[in-house]
Every structure is written in structure tokens, then in C-alpha cells.
Symmetry: C2
Subunit: 301 residues, 2 copies
């Protein structure tokens, strides 16, 4: 799984920083998460193949998280896209994007499918044979969801030599990969563990932005391999966090610790701060494996 941060600063685009957007490469999918103004330029700068994006997940309808979406939808039209584009986001996203198409008298020639969200409970919003995406209900000024991306467990790996030695007919191989015990040609029951290895451990990634400190998300993201959690403020401005429904670096670290996350990636910094290392200093005493997101930075999960 690879994460490419396109933008990770709060508020509005500036000369050298971008509002929220990131691309997650997971099992042949290229998922776009949030789409602040300028995202299509950031996609180009990061040499990401636009056309491979088929699913876009929007957290909430504040401009710094989706004002680049209408432009991206138009660009796909100009590029004669044919494949489906699925957009997941809060109720209202369909109205605002289609109004812009209506006023431009420019409808897409590709299927554009909206999946509008209203639930305040975590729900499964996307699933195929390899990947699941669940919402993470967050606590912000407007209705907001984070997203949990999970690889599904693959099949068990077959030990061919052991299977041969134990005289298992190859007709049973697929049963073995699925974890069943099987009989060999002599009618003996062979325990699955004797001829298979566990599948490669699945990975998961949770995106949580924007949100006030919210402990109730911990069970949803428990044991996640990587957690991106917003940290808009440092301690000296901690009083602003609950009022604006954002988090501090310490609060992000506390969520990562309680969730037993593998790694914490901080982002959505207020543009009032010049020295981002301060975020690490405040988070690391609570949760050690913490890193800073930055525009253009890539993470392997």
C-alpha cells in the first residue's frame, strides 16, 4: 500500500502549500482522498495517472477538502474519459457538482456516480474481492467522515513439496488455499497447517481529517497499520481546538496510542506555524512512531 500526500495544510492554498488531498494505491486501486483546490496540478506534479482514479472519497464539504473536485470532473470530460467515476461524500455533493455542470452546459460523457453519505455510524461504502472501505464518523463543524481502507486477507500459500509428499491430489489445492483440511489419495485426513502457510498479513490505513478529539473512533481503527490524523494545532493554541472542532498533535497521538496504530502520520497543520518539528515534539512522548505529512511526500504502508 502506498500513500502519496498531495496536500496536507489547513485553510486555503498558498504559494507553496496545498489544501488536503492524497492518493492511496491499494491492490490495483488508485483512491483519491479529498480534493482541495489545485489537486489536478498536484496530481500532475506527482506524476499520478489521472485516468486510473475511479473512486474519490470526500471527507466533508469545506472548500479546502473539495474545491478541486468540479475541475477534476471537467478535466476527465475533456480527456474523453469513458470509465465510471465514483464519488463518495456527504449529502449535497451531488447537487453542488451537478449544478456546476448544468451552468456550464457540460455534462460528462462518462458515468459519474455519487454515493451520498448521511449515516452517523461507521458503514461499509466500498467492497470488492480485495479491498474494503469503511467510513469513520468524525466530529467537525459540518458532517464529516474519515475513511478506513482495509486489504482483505488473501488465500493461504500452498507448500507444494509438502502437498506432494503427503500425496494430496491437486483437485484439493484450492480447498487447501481456502484453509480447509483435506483427504489425501490414501484416505488420510491432512491438517491444513501441514501443507500451507498463513497468507501475507493484510494492511490497513485510516484517514481522519477534520475532527475534534473523538475517542469513539478508536474501536473502528484499532490496530490500523497507519493512521493519518489531523493535528491543526500545537499545545499553545489548544484552546482553539474544541471551538473550531480540530485536534492538537497531542490529541492525535493519544488516538494513535489507544488504537494501537502501527504508525501515526500528522497533517492538516494550521498555516500559522513555520516549524513543523514542534508537532513531532509534542506528539512523540505519547506515541513514538510518529511522522509528518508534507506535500509531495510518499509513505509505504
Amino acid at each position: 500500500m502506498k500513500l502519496n500526500i498531495l496536500g496536507c495544510y489547513s485553510a486555503t492554498p498558498r504559494t507553496f502549500t496545498n489544501p488536503t488531498s492524497q492518493v492511496l494505491e491499494i491492490k490495483n486501486h488508485l483512491f483519491l482522498i479529498d480534493c482541495g483546490e489545485g489537486t489536478q496540478v498536484q496530481l500532475r506534479k506527482n506524476k499520478i495517472k489521472f485516468s486510473h482514479i475511479k473512486h474519490i472519497f470526500i471527507s466533508h464539504l469545506h472548500g479546502d477538502h473539495y474545491f478541486g473536485l468540479a475541475g477534476l470532473v471537467s478535466t476527465f470530460r475533456l480527456y474523453s474519459r469513458e470509465s465510471e467515476l465514483h464519488i463518495y461524500g456527504p449529502k449535497g455533493i451531488k447537487e453542488v457538482i451537478t449544478l456546476q455542470m448544468k451552468l456550464a452546459d457540460s455534462w460528462t460523457n462518462y458515468p459519474l456516480l455519487f454515493h451520498e453519505l448521511t449515516s452517523k455510524q461507521s458503514q461499509l461504502v466500498f467492497e470488492d474481492d480485495k479491498v474494503e472501505v469503511h467510513t469513520i464518523p468524525l466530529d467537525h463543524r459540518v458532517y464529516t467522515n474519515g475513511y478506513l481502507f482495509k486489504e482483505k486477507p488473501g488465500e493461504r500459500k500452498l507448500n507444494m513439496e509438502a502437498a506432494k509428499e503427503l500425496k494430496i491430489d491437486k483437485a484439493y489445492f484450492s480447498k487447501l488455499k481456502q484453509g480447509f483440511d483435506v483427504e489425501n489419495v490414501d484416505g488420510e485426513l491432512i491438517k491444513n497447517e501441514k501443507v500451507t502457510h498463513a497468507p501475507v498479513k493484510t494492511k490497513s490505513y485510516a484517514f481522519c481529517s477534520d475532527t475534534a478529539y473523538k475517542e469513539s473512533i478508536v474501536p473502528i481503527i484499532r490496530n490500523v497499520d497507519a493512521l493519518y490524523h489531523e493535528s491543526t494545532f500545537l499545545e499553545k493554541h489548544a484552546h482553539l481546538a474544541p471551538r473550531t472542532k480540530h485536534s492538537t498533535a497531542k490529541e492525535a497521538a493519544s488516538i494513535a496510542k489507544q488504537a494501537n496504530a502501527g504508525k501515526l502520520i500528522l497533517g492538516h497543520y494550521s498555516t500559522r506555524y513555520d516549524d513543523l518539528e514542534e508537532f513531532i515534539k509534542e506528539a512523540s512522548p505519547i506515541f513514538k512512531n510518529v511522522v509528518l505529512a508534507d506535500d509531495g511526500k510518499k509513505f509505504k504502508i
Copy 2:
């Protein structure tokens, strides 16, 4: 009058080119003309004082001419703007911008005033004691206006020495500046021309984008000092111009010639062309004083 091109390419933003936006400095006004995605970053790069912009003129509701507007309106809110912001543009612009504010639950704390346009005739849309702005009805796929910016003639310049010599009481000076003849202290009528000079010649600028070739705009923009006219295509793609309701470089030159413009500024190039000098080559045999717009370029008018 100073014109600062922020973006002058057609279609969508790319790594190194920007969609349409420009700033016109005229008699203490800073007018923003169109506002494609990324305009606020371009404003910063060009070191333009955001807060001085009080009037925004949008030509039409295709994304490459206004997808940066909602973000700019939000940024003004974050910067605690207090002064009025006037937005001129086609009917629908109010609905689409206010819907975005409604969904974000973020209303401006400054007065935001929309002036929606529907007329197919040229009309005066802004006027104060120094400047007039008129629409220029264009011919595009959706309802579109160009804008004509005109300085108003100032007062006549007083020749102080002549006025003294001819014994005119200073109580009459303002009448003289307004062009009237006055009596001197001896009761003689003094012709205005004897004691005043003509005011500085007023300047005008016309912005025409996007449009098919449209001769009926010529009387509206006659004798304009500088004409920005879109030239999306070169001759080899001239067949695409009427179909897409755009113009070629030659057509732009023909309009400039008929209007007796002082200077022609070409722009809105299709992104299929690498060598922009071709536009000059095709326009200059018809209209000599032609120059290329480019992102970040400044013109003195």
C-alpha cells in the same frame, strides 16, 4: 492602467499554465477579471494585495473561468475581510457560490453582493466618478460577456500663470476646470481655452473571452487602447473555431483592425500548441501591434 495576466490558457490548469484570470489596475481600483482554479495562488505569486480587490467580473460559467472563485470568497472570510465584495457575472453565479457556502455552513462576514447579468445588449454595470465598466455581449456555448473598462475624462488642467495674468479670481478656478468661460475681476469674459489645457487622454481596455468571431462587438470597443481577444486556435484548426465557439488568431486580429484598437493582446491558447509565436505570425499581417499574453506578464496601457 496596468494589466497583470494571472492565467491565459484555455481548458484546465496544468503544471505550468493557468486558466483565465487577470487583474486590471485602473484609477485606484483593482478589478479581477475571471477567476479560474488556482487564481488565489496566482494572486500571491504576482504579489497582488488581495484585500484591495472589491470588484470581480466573470465572463461565463465554464470552469476554467470561475472555479477559483468559491475558494477566493472563502479565503476573504478567513482573512476577516470587512469591505464589500461585488461579483458581476451570468445568472446562476449567485446560486452556485451561495450553495457552496451553505454546504460548508460558512457564510461571509463581509457584504458579498452579486450582480447577475442576463442582457444580450451591452450595458453599463459599474460606474463611479472615474471609471465605467460596460458588458460586451459575446458569442460562446453558454451566455458570455466580455467587459469594457473606460476611464472617465478628468477635469481640464488650469494654467495658473495665465489665470493670474488675466486677473481671474480663484473662486472661478473650479468652473474653469469644468470647462466653462468665466469673467475676470474687470468684468471681461475669458474664454476657457486661454487658461486651461485639455485633460490627460483617457484610456480604455476591452476583455473579450471566450467568443466565436463576432463583428457586432466592433462598435462597442471602437478605438479601445488595448484589446485582449481570445485566440484559441491557429489556422490549421480553424474549422474547430465556429464549432466550439472560439476564435483564431486571424479572427482576433480582424476584430482589432475593425475596432481600430491601439494594441491587441492575444490569449486563451489551446494547450495543444507549444510554439505561441505562431499566433503572432498569423495575426500580425492583419493587425500589426499584436502581443502575446502569458501567465505573470504585465502590460502598461
